[in-house]
Amino acid sequence: MTFELFIFYLFAAVLVFAALRVVTVRNPVHAVLFLVLAFFSSAALWLLLEAEFLALVLVLVYVGAVMVLFLFVVMMLDINVAVLREGFTRYLPVGLLVGLAIVAEMGLVLVRYFVLPPGSAPKPVGPDFSNTRMLGDLLYTHYVYPFEIAAAILLVAIVAAIALTLRRRPGTKHQDPAAQIAVRRRDRVRLVRMDAEKKPE
């Protein structure tokens, strides 16, 4: 086994372990952290497969932003998992039964009939090959239509989130920087002419 293969299996093992812990661990904050670990290991796997752009973007977007917000919410909410797990054991046998049946059926069909065309291993590429450039080329040419629709989907998500949550509460104290800048002296200071104090008599 080469060193690279060893690293690959190591990260794969960490990934599977972390993914399992995400669903089994009791503390939701720990679950989120295990999810972060899972993302990180899969990024490492992609890196080993020479998909460096995807790997780094996974870390950047999911680990660096999405999971931070997740963690933020989970920490703030202080979720009580025990309540969420109520009835878990009651439904477990049925769920297990259905799950096993589906797995058995899938196994039967997929093993017997899902024949992959004989493919060859992807050719290793030279050091000058830029994964990022290739992806960009494809996204903006061949996949431009789905790419634009995906952009529209994200826009709808933003509009929906803001439309459903933004509230203008009356009476909140906030600054209006434009108004602050526009202030002139006469708005704030009034010079009043007053006589000097009366002379002592």
């Binding site: 460096e52 780094l56 870390v59 950047l60 660096g64 933020f72 920490m75 830029s130 920087p177």
Partner: protein
């Protein structure tokens, strides 16, 4: 003597030599970095001292030069106290998570032509990904401490870092568009030709936004609400003591140096000489490129300290407003303009 040593070295197996060589390179980067961190703290106290018309540390060693060493020794010897009901594992993991990315990011930093530990193709992306990881140290520290102040600091920091990361990322996108590559070395080489060819000029707004976001990302004044010693004591690291605290400290300063160096690389021509293209270049040819890079970085570091001595702390909603409503729109507009400039080959930057 050297000949025999070299012969001995060459006789060693390749599988042994390469890792050792890499390790040596890492040490060659990290040791000066750690020393810079130590003396950056000293410089900070001295500079802010003079700005406030006082002298700063002067007792330990000649003119106080041994002060950082003494501080380090003191922190090393102090006890690490884990608060009651704190999550012990995460509590101790947090400082490590915070320093790890701060150090790992240096692996792609080019110190001169070809002088880089890992010349990866997507270096800029790698940097961005790693700096975005730094926030975990802060959040986990705040949560694992089981303390209200620490938690508040962590929450503030999480929201702030996510907000400024976007603006920072867009500013970096501007640099990569101008350089035509994600490789930091290639971005520097694209700036050849003198001060006016460096990217600070065509990317002026992005340059400012990058540096200000960098200040916010490192939680430095005036964006230091995560620590906010006058409101929430010391924010996320209020419960930390001894070496655990020192590691946070190291990470913060290492990140400052990283942001400064990166600003120099992306916008001020990295290791390129500022006299390029002028008659002066002949006199300074002997200066190695690394010196130029470090000088530029030092200039930015001075700005960090200057900001801290000058500006009052932003209020939290002001920070959010600046990040989301000012920086992000400006970066997007400038990226559009830059796209047009590249399309029409605006001279002399986009040949």
């Amino acid at each position: 003597m050297t000949a025999t040593l070299l012969e001995f070295w060459n006789g060693l197996p390749e599988d042994f030599r390469i890792p050792v060589l890499i390790l040596l390179k890492i040490v060659a980067i990290l040791v000066p970095l750690m020393l810079s961190v130590a003396y950056l703290t000293f410089a900070e106290r001295k500079i802010i001292g003079y700005m406030q018309i006082r002298i700063g540390p002067q007792r330990v060693g000649p003119r106080g030069w041994l002060q950082p060493i003494a501080d380090a020794l003191k922190l090393l010897l102090k006890e690490i106290i884990v608060p009651a009901n704190a999550n012990r594992f995460l509590f101790l993991l947090a400082p490590v998570l915070s320093i790890g990315p701060a150090l790992a990011a240096w692996s792609v930093m080019p110190f001169g032509h070809g002088m880089v530990l890992a010349n990866v193709d997507a270096g800029l992306l790698f940097l961005l990904a790693l700096t975005s990881m730094g926030v975990y140290g802060v959040i986990i520290a705040g949560w694992a401490s089981n303390s209200k102040y620490a938690f508040l600091g962590a929450m503030r920091s999480a929201a702030q870092m996510v907000a400024y990361e976007i603006a920072m990322g867009f500013a970096l996108v501007g640099a990569l568009m101008a350089g035509g590559s994600l490789n930091l070395g290639k971005i520097v080489l694209a700036q050849q030709g003198g001060v006016l060819h460096w990217f600070w000029l065509p990317l002026l707004p992005l340059f400012f936004i990058y540096f200000i976001s960098g200040v916010a990302e490192t939680n430095r004044a005036p964006f230091d609400v995560a620590e906010g010693e006058s409101e929430i004591v010391a924010g996320f690291h209020v419960e930390y003591s001894g070496m655990a605290f020192a590691v946070f400290f190291l990470a913060e300063y290492a990140n400052m140096i990283l942001i400064s160096t990166l600003a120099a690389v992306l916008f001020l021509g990295g290791w390129l000489s500022p006299f390029e293209g002028t008659g002066w270049q002949a006199y300074v040819n002997w200066v190695p490129g690394t010196v130029w890079l470090l000088l530029k970085a030092a200039g930015f570091l001075f700005l960090f300290l200057w900001f801290r001595a000058t500006f009052p702390r932003y209020r939290y909603d002001q920070i959010m407003r600046l990040g989301w409503k000012v920086f992000i729109p400006i970066t997007i507009v400038w990226l559009f303009l830059e796209g047009f400039a590249i399309l029409f080959h605006l001279q002399p930057w986009f040949a």
